[in-house]
Symmetry: C2
Subunit: 249 residues, 2 copies
């Protein structure tokens, strides 16, 4: 799947930032598509739509798992920048292939999807989607859950890109990072990877794109998207960076 | 899945047009996402990626079928405005439900997806996507094909909405349409359903949205999108309208 182009451009902070910036558009498009539909709490409630004998999770999680099974068959989760939400997943139907990665091998184990999923369902959807009338609910279950899967996959990709960011920062100042890692200094690592000016720029650019994309017939609450970046995307990306660095040593 | 909201707003031309206009954004977003990746002719060549004993079609068609199998399990293709590209598809895992439709029962049989798929693969992708370097090919197979599926599903939904357009036009002038249908007057029907001013407005609005959505980091050849509407979307929508009317009698 999307490889982040490890071997194409090498691993520079500029290249990684260009990927992160492009992912903002994918995330915005996915959220705009989801926001067409009401919140639909039923699709997130285990047992509410699919019988518990068939699947113990929610309808949306069932769709997410089915989707991941399909993508697993075409090797999506063998790529170093892709992380599944569900398991177990079936093996690939394709010929085996080695995906080179510029990340430290420890990197693949770090997966914050559970936190992404929990935040998305409990905080992002209620802020991004309208409540909806009782009558229009059921017909949108599939459409909304399909969009949820796309939003979650785009968010996961964006947040786990933190591994690449961390790797580049590590290589850029190895002595400092080795010292902080050896001391298990989480606060020091957080401080070393944080660039408040860049974070502010991300939020401003996101708001500007959001306004451009919703000027016509497509709609989403741009403030809610910015809020989601501030509360979910940026903190979890930093968590991924710190965890990656701590496990890297 | 997306129901077009039959029973919500009733079936007015204004309501249908609002759905068609909103689908323009979905189509644009999907095409912008696809245009991130090269053309990748290999994913459209039967046998090139998946062994012919496993699947006789192309890699992209395999992904499309797998996707439709998942969606079929949650009743997508029982909705009157959804049409699968592939078959056979598995039954639903959900409780049975009757989807009311304001279309004539003849409508469900009309399916122009084969024509959409052929045009999309042979004309739209070569126009919308860059050629790509040899080295970056394989890693994008899954990403590109996933986007293809999204483009095809959005195009299919837009084009088959022609059934609703035709139904509203039929109800609006039943004597004229009954006469043309009885005479099997295809040219007369085409003339009766064509509104050149509306078609022009669609193309202009599409170009304007396309420019707004590609002003930042997302990119697509807006002229190529407009061309695809002119050559594929508008003519096939009209074909659906005429076929629906002819079979309606």
């Amino acid at each position: 799947m999307d490889r982040g182009g490890d071997q194409l451009a090498g691993l520079t902070l500029d290249f990684i930032r260009s990927q992160l910036i492009r992912l903002e558009d994918t995330i915005l498009f996915s959220l705009i598509e989801r926001a067409q539909f009401p919140r639909l709490p039923t699709i997130y409630a285990p047992g509410a739509i699919i019988d518990k004998e068939v699947w113990t999770g929610s309808f949306m999680e069932w769709l997410l798992h089915e989707q991941e099974c399909v993508h697993s068959k075409v090797r999506r989760y063998e790529a170093p920048d892709e992380h599944p939400f569900t398991s177990p997943l079936p093996p690939t139907i394709l010929r085996p292939k080695h995906y080179p990665s510029l990340l430290h091998p420890c990197g693949k184990q770090i997966n914050v999807n559970a936190a992404i999923l929990a935040f998305y369902v409990t905080k992002a959807v209620p802020q991004l989607c309208r409540e909806g009338d009782r009558g229009e609910m059921e017909e949108h279950y599939g459409s909304a859950a399909t969009r949820d899967v796309e939003c979650l996959q785009a968010l996961s990709r964006r947040i786990h890109f933190g591994k690449y960011v961390a790797e580049v920062k590590f290589v850029g100042d190895e002595p400092t990072f080795r010292r902080l890692i050896a001391a298990r200094d989480v606060h020091g690592l957080e401080a070393a990877i944080t660039d408040a000016a860049v974070e502010q720029k991300v939020l401003l650019r996101l708001a500007s794109k959001g306004r451009a994309y919703t000027g016509g017939d497509a709609k989403v609450d741009v403030d809610a998207v910015v809020e989601m970046y501030r509360e979910l995307v940026i903190p979890l990306t930093k968590l991924v960076e710190v965890e990656y660095l701590l496990s890297r040593a």
